[in-house]
Amino acid sequence: MSLNKLTLTQAIKNLQAKKCSAFELVKACLDQINRYDSKIHAFLELNQDALKEAKLADNQRRDNSSPLLGIPIAIKDNFLTQNLPTTAASKVLEGYLPQYESTVTRKLKEAGAIIIGKTNMDAWAHGSSTESSDFGPTLNPWNTQFLPGGSSGGSTAAVAADMCIAAIGSETAGSIRLPAAWCGVTGFKPTYGRVSRYGVIAMASSTDSPGPIAKTVEDCAFLTQIIGGFDPYDATSSSNPVPLLTLSKAKVKTKLKIGLPKEYLEAMNQETKALVHEAIKVLQNQGHVIEPTSLISPKYAIGVYTIVQRSEVSSNLSRYDGIRYGQDRTKFGEEAIRRIMLGTFALSSGYYDQYYSKAQKVRTLIIEDFNQAFKKFDLIINPPSPGPALKIGASKNEPLFGEMQDMLVEPSSVAGLTGVSLPGGFVDGLPFGFGFVGPQFSEDKVLNIAHQYQQATDWHLRKPQL
């Protein structure tokens, strides 16, 4: 097997057993990028020093070295990286070289990881297609006629196409889970505040959650352990300690009670509904109990999310004035203009109560609804998307494209919950994502059940024909 196809866990074992060098591992990923990225366009920028850093990692290796030493990881382009231009895929930040490092990338680098490059995304993370990138769309590695999903579509496509060992994305409402589903990889959204937002270009600060995208649940758990935890530079990061997330067979013996919300199932079509029922059978065979339940219709979360997100965007993007860094406001793309304008309106004098305040109250209702559900259930079944990837161009002229595609993950996002998306089958050759959500700070439970599901299925082992 080519080295770039290794999972994170396999790559770590190979490096530790000296079966390969970091240089060879990084080289294999770069070769894959050179071969296929002209077709997929997952990357906006490559780290020109990656091979040099890999050689250094090989020289530094000792028996007690950090497990991530020499592992190539791709980073979504909204994480500030000191040695690499960072644009959030917007022309406003074209050529911007950050003066400081995001906490997530700092932690990865300190653990020895090599940033192989910065990945494409919807500009400012505004979208669910990666089609609104100011530098051109990323295409789905399973079929280049289709969207990868977004906004972390570059990261999920890079993992699906084995251009890196793992990647980092960020989710505000679906931006990790939806593209992970559409690209057939595993994406994990930690609880809001579990992973620091310091140095992540702010989108909607009350829901932005960085997280890992990888080839297995086990790899996502490993990365969350490294990037998670309290950060004095992010006042909203949680001081709740990160439990040991490393997955072991011993930990998955508990039988869980899992809710299946009928409102979520109603949003799906015949084919994807059938895949959900197949996944449920796998869980039942493992002894878990799945029972139907009811939650507030996700259509209300669309309204809440749209108002809250646009409002926070209008505030966060007001800093881009082209004076201290970046270009001026004439460089904003259409989607950013739409979002800034709607948010400005929702916060403007006379409309605040009708929109922003109302949305924050409905947000409370959604949180209470989940709290009730979690009194009865350990977890909720939550496939991130009603169906597989849509065709290139589907997001054009659809001002609520992202909101409609992300409908099933918006409730858990506005409530700050943790959730996972993992490969759960195929529809016409395109991956379908299955998933769960759990209460805040139940990462351990969500990852363990997802891992258990992955042990019993082989959807995550299938690879696209590039």
């Binding site: 609880t191 505040g193 809440v304 860094y325 709607l342 309106f345 409905v362 409370t364 949180i367």
Partner: protein, 92 residues
């Protein structure tokens, strides 16, 4: 919603050809999100911070590990002069 007024508040210049398109898209979006008005929130408090954290403070002390030098601070400014960032004039 008056798009010109909102654009002025947001310090954006609307491309003239797109004004109509934006206007109709905003109307469409606003009617789509109006669904939340069906839910009764008379006795519901708003939530802005989902994990319930309040009043997070830190010591009022300079953290030298993340202070930028003058040259670092101006390194990304499109225009600088003698170590200062050049800003557009406010008064004509």
């Amino acid at each position: 919603m008056d798009v010109h007024h909102i654009a002025r508040l947001a310090n954006l210049k609307l491309p003239p050809k797109q004004t109509e398109k934006f206007q109709s898209q905003f109307d469409e979006t606003l009617s789509a999100i109006a669904a939340i008005n069906k839910l009764d929130t008379k006795n519901t408090p708003p939530t802005s911070q989902v994990t319930g954290q309040v009043n997070i403070t830190r010591e009022d002390k300079v953290d030298t590990s993340r202070v930028l030098s003058q040259s670092e601070a101006i390194s990304q400014a499109p225009k600088s002069h003698n170590g200062y960032i050049v800003v557009p004039h406010v008064f004509e």
